[in-house]
Amino acid sequence: MKILIFAETDENGNFKKDALEIASYASQVSSENGGSLIALSFNASEPERLSNYGVQKTINAKNQELNNFDPEIYSNCISEIFKSENCDLLVLSSSSNSKYIGGILSVKIDAGYVTNVISKPTMGDRISVQRNTFTNKAFENVEIMKSKVILAISKNSYGLKENQINSEAIETNFNISESRNKVKSVEKTSNKVTIADADIVVSGGRGLKGPENWHLIENLADILGGATACSKPVSDLGWRPHSEHVGQTGKPVSSNLYIAIGISGAIQHLAGVNSSKVKVVINTDPEAPFFKAADYGIVGDAFEVVPRLIDKLKEFKSSNG
């Protein structure tokens, strides 16, 4: 079996954590099933770095046009390599950009495409995988009926596994035609870590009473190096930007640690955050449904507990480097 991963880089050309995770995943699949593993990257600054995660060959395209994401250009380049390298399986991450092109790619290479994958494939006559469905309320076992396969791996479902091997990095250059979309400008809401990339997410609900109290959430997120998020009513009320709304109808969260402060834990909220590994709730009401979904909980007033937590975390951080 020949596996291709699309390894995304950030604006500085460094591999994203998602890229290292899918490399770890694909390397395990490849070694269990006797195959080879190729990565495709665009303008990566250190393409050879993927050899630490079991990638045998990295094809790094050097094209100015690939610096900014474009669905047509990216999907054309990826399907070109998939075909010319005779690959059987394409592994993608669940980043916004990879999800954008997944459907397009599945048509271009006539593949069976499965998203939100949380297991390694089981091989038989046909490949099967397990995925998250019904917004984390169930798992689905899916069999792929085509010979070519695309799997989009759910973030943090596999983790990073180093596996240093000898590998080669090849430079390539695509012939790129014009795209129908023109990017005019990019507006970044902040330079802080995003909800999608964060290992720790600190989230506030209506229990915080108003936007003027959000320094509690921000300070806690800062000291943890985490992202800030909020419940739906908080963004509907305009206390926080929509981009922070998490849950079934907002952004999904699958961080290592999710801290919910003044959030009741409605079913729609929990659905979107349930795939986080460790959940902490801080709420005055011991009956709040979030306590049934959390690993750790404090029954208490956020306005007292959070400042205390920030102080103690400062002490913890200074003694744990």
Partner: protein, 248 residues
Amino acid sequence: MKILVCISHVPDTTSKINFTENNSKFDKSGVQFVINPNDEFGLTRAIWFKEKNNATIDVINVGLQDTESTLRKALAIGADRAVRINHDPKDGLSVAKHISDYIKLNSYDLIIAGRESIDYNGGMVPGMISAFTDINFIDKCIDLKISGNNVEASREIEGGKENISTHLPLIIGGQKGLVEESDLRIPNMRGIMMARKKELLVIDSDEDYFATHSKDFEKPQPKGEVTIVQADEVEKLIDLLHNEAKAL
């Protein structure tokens, strides 16, 4: 401007998720179905185009007769005509290919789908339609302005947004931001009465397109008890997160 809005018929967000037939099928009994929230934002944006730019709106669903209640709701909110491809879709490809076949026979300027449906969370239908029909695609679209053939759109990216200019025809994967929650319309009596008279076209299909087969479903293990820490002992929480959960 002719708009097609793809409508997914999904269980209400508060539904209990259970399975029948040896865990191979979603159990619809007692479940309330609604317009997929991401599609509803798109439908509302389409209604604005109808009110301000004289657009006409068709809505489409690939499904069996039970999805007609949801299509009627879309008509009551303001769509002009509904199309149901009479087919029980097996996966995202099956939905996308049927809709693409329909689009090829009936040209549209703008096709609005949701970026993802909240039942199976495939998130693949709009991208596939774009590839099948060779229509330009913007995913996670949170702002859309059209004048003549020119489109100014924004899409959500990690940590911000990207402003894009392009042209019709276009397909988008919509979500909140296209309109706000408070802009969503609740069907009124007049809308419901009018919806009964609007056309709901049923097109039969024997085409069996699919790329994946759903074998069965499992439900997550029930969670263990929460560990409660006293409000005046936050250092204990830090200790547990560090040493037990390894999350700090």
